[in-house]
């Protein structure tokens, strides 16, 4: 059960850290702007990407089957999981069959969503997250706070403290290069030791039967190429029809995510390693209901670049953990609320409706519209708080009856200045808890407007 306002309040309480976090994300957003401006056809590229995604989703069953057929021909084994548990069972059974007791994992939000790590650890399999940011949060027993920058909420001094304790680094040395080298040395041993590599999937190409994984650190490649067993997990929405479509998506992904021209490694896996096995697990886990929704189906087009988070004024100032859902920010708020409105009902309100997310989204998901629509759905489902429901009802009544509205306005303008502060700023006035009410004017806008018209005549 997430409670965004409550968790955000904790984050905001540390003013210095809030501004530091805000700046760090805005820096990434600015890099994205520079990268996108380096390409004159950027906006056209976004449109084509959006069209490719819509087309693919409209024929998703067809492309999934084509993908399976072509991947099988390449010697890759394809598995299907209808939910998180089945995904975890498939992964575990593959590890068990191959007698694997330690795995190296690269970044995959899907395995986070499925809670794969605890599932495997309960079955005595050692799981090592190998992306540096993910490794840091794993050692701290925290979830990632961003889908591309998992440890963006941490300061280097905190990383240093964690490494002193877990990796035996020098106390007080918080130099990022030193800390990265220490993680590199420690994780090298893990790569050499592991019996299997698990990766996510950025794109799965129906036409060629292979998957593409994009990383900067080279961790996915070490994990997928050193052990004999490579397992790649993907949601059903990762499919793209043709190889040439990668020309569009590889241009958009890294530029939107971090402002890089492309990720260091964009690897196309179309077969197992020598004498090895490659498995792909295709997961639904509540994705198909999006296809049946006219308001929310576009959310499945997401390529997980994180641009909507970096630009979001609420995310930047409240941190990823405040969302309490596996994916934070605008896209996480719509995904989470659609999947489980009861548990995530505060998330559509973690939004100013500024629309910046929609403007930067490389596949043009209508994020702000979706969050706005969610609010109405929550109202219809009776999931809004009593305070909100009552005040909305009163407002609706007033708006429908102009005479009543005028009378109410007049009364309030007279009454409020006479009331003691303890009543005006009572606990029911949530808006007034951190703000002063404006000084009550003598006349309403309507009255001023009418007066103005007269003056002009």
């Amino acid at each position: 059960m997430s409670n965004h306002p409550q968790e955000a309040a904790k984050f905001v309480a540390n003013d210095e850290r809030m501004h530091w976090h805000d700046k760090a994300l805005w820096f990434v957003r600015e890099k994205r702007d520079l990268a996108s401006k380096s390409i004159p056809e950027w906006e056209e590229l976004r449109s084509v990407a959006s069209e490719i995604k819509t087309h693919t989703l409209s024929k998703l069953d067809y492309y999934l089957e084509e993908f399976e057929k072509n991947a099988t021909q390449k010697g890759i084994t394809v598995h299907w999981a209808k939910d998180a548990l089945e995904h975890n069972e498939i992964v575990y059974s593959l590890l068990e069959k191959n007698k694997v007791s330690k795995i190296v994992k690269s970044k995959s939000m899907l395995t986070e969503e499925c809670h794969l790590n605890p599932y495997l650890e309960e079955r005595n399999i050692e799981v090592i997250d190998t992306d540096l940011g993910e490794r840091i949060v794993q050692l701290r027993n925290e979830p990632p706070s961003h889908i591309v920058l998992p440890a963006i909420h941490l300061k280097k001094s905190e990383v240093s403290e964690t490494f002193v304790e877990k990796l035996g680094t020098e106390k007080g040395n918080d130099d990022p290069t030193y800390l990265t080298r220490a993680a590199r040395a420690s994780l090298r041993e893990d790569f050499l030791d592991a019996g299997a590599g698990l990766t996510g999937v950025n794109f799965a190409i129906a036409q060629t039967g292979g998957v593409v994984v994009c990383t900067n650190e080279g961790n996915a490649d070490m994990g997928a190429s050193l052990p004999k067993l490579h397992i790649a997990s993907m949601g059903i929405e990762k499919i793209i029809p043709k190889l040439e479509h990668l020309g569009v998506f590889t241009r958009l992904l890294a530029k939107s995510a971090t402002g890089q021209p492309i990720t260091s490694y964009t690897t196309h896996f179309h077969a197992p390693v020598v004498d090895g096995e490659m498995h792909i697990v295709i997961v639904d886990n509540q994705r198909t209901p999006f296809l049946a929704s006219k308001d929310y189906n576009k959310a499945l087009a997401c390529i997980r670049c994180g641009a909507c988070m970096n630009t979001c004024p609420v995310y930047r100032r409240s941190g990823g953990h405040s969302y309490g859902y596996v994916i934070p920010g605008p896209i996480g708020s719509t995904l989470g609320n659609f999947k489980d409105p009861k548990a995530n009902k505060t998330l559509p309100f973690a939004c100013t409706l500024c629309g910046s997310c929609t403007n930067v989204c490389p596949v043009k998901i209508d994020l702000d519209t979706q969050l706005y629509t969610h609010r109405q759905d929550l109202g219809a489902q009776g999931l809004l708080s009593k305070q909100k429901t009552i005040s909305m009802k009163i407002t609706a009544k007033l708006m429908q009856h102009p005479k009543l509205f005028d009378f109410f306005g007049k009364t309030i303008r007279k009454l409020v200045p006479m009331l003691p502060k303890s009543i005006v700023y009572s606990k029911y006035n949530i808006w007034g808890q951190t703000r002063d009410l404006p000084k009550m004017p003598k006349n309403s806008f309507k009255e001023l407007y009418k007066q103005g018209l007269k003056d002009e005549l």
Binding site: I39, L45, A151, I262, S264
Partner: protein
């Protein structure tokens, strides 16, 4: 009903997205006056560097870049610096390679990436496990952008391929860029004239 049928059926039966034609990708990719210059400029921003040399100077050029590296592998025609054969049974045996000199198929100006096919090499991990990497590409094999790049790629007979743009890197600690995460700590692209 197995899970595959279950998933496919629920898509078939409930999907309301109206079928739209698969879009043609317009011929809109950016082109550069000097493809090499653009490539060289971009790869510097991602922690790598681009150099040009004559085929007969390959050894000399690479040796001057890496004076102290001991275990060296090479699958590049015209380079004789290799002293470690990567054609071993177990890829774990590649763990002590200081420098891998490998063949790149073509380079992409737009983003400083080089396409690697792994045709003349057994273990894919070579590109990532080596401490340093030099990718050798023919000088005339540079394309403008990723659309042109994919016109040159075909998986009908291949099982692997990767775009490599500079050395491995991370900015996961306070957004400070550190070159050398899990893969190579330095990376040059050497264009042969």
């Amino acid at each position: 009903m197995n899970s595959k049928q279950y998933i496919l059926n629920s898509i078939k039966n409930t999907n309301i997205i109206k079928e739209t034609p698969c879009p043609q990708i317009p011929d809109f990719g950016i082109v550069y006056e000097d493809k090499f210059e653009q490539f060289a400029q971009i790869i510097k921003t991602v922690g790598g560097d681009a150099l040009v040399c004559k085929k007969e100077d390959l050894d000399k050029t690479i040796a001057s870049l890496y004076e102290d590296e001991k275990v060296i592998s090479s699958n590049v025609d015209g380079c004789t610096l290799g002293n470690f054969n990567t054609d071993v049974d177990d890829p774990h045996k590649l763990k002590d390679i200081d420098l891998a000199i490998v063949k790149g198929e073509f380079a992409v100006s737009e983003n400083g990436a080089v396409w690697i096919k792994n045709e003349d090499n057994k273990h894919r991990v070579l590109y990532f496990i080596a401490q340093n990497i030099v990718i050798v590409v023919q000088k005339d094999k540079i394309v403008n952008n990723m659309h042109e790049a994919y016109e040159n790629i075909d998986f009908s007979d291949a099982g692997y391929g990767a775009f490599v743009s500079g050395p491995s890197k991370t900015a996961d600690i306070e957004q400070s860029l550190v070159i050398g995460a899990h893969g190579p700590k330095s990376g040059y692209v050497l264009f042969v004239e």
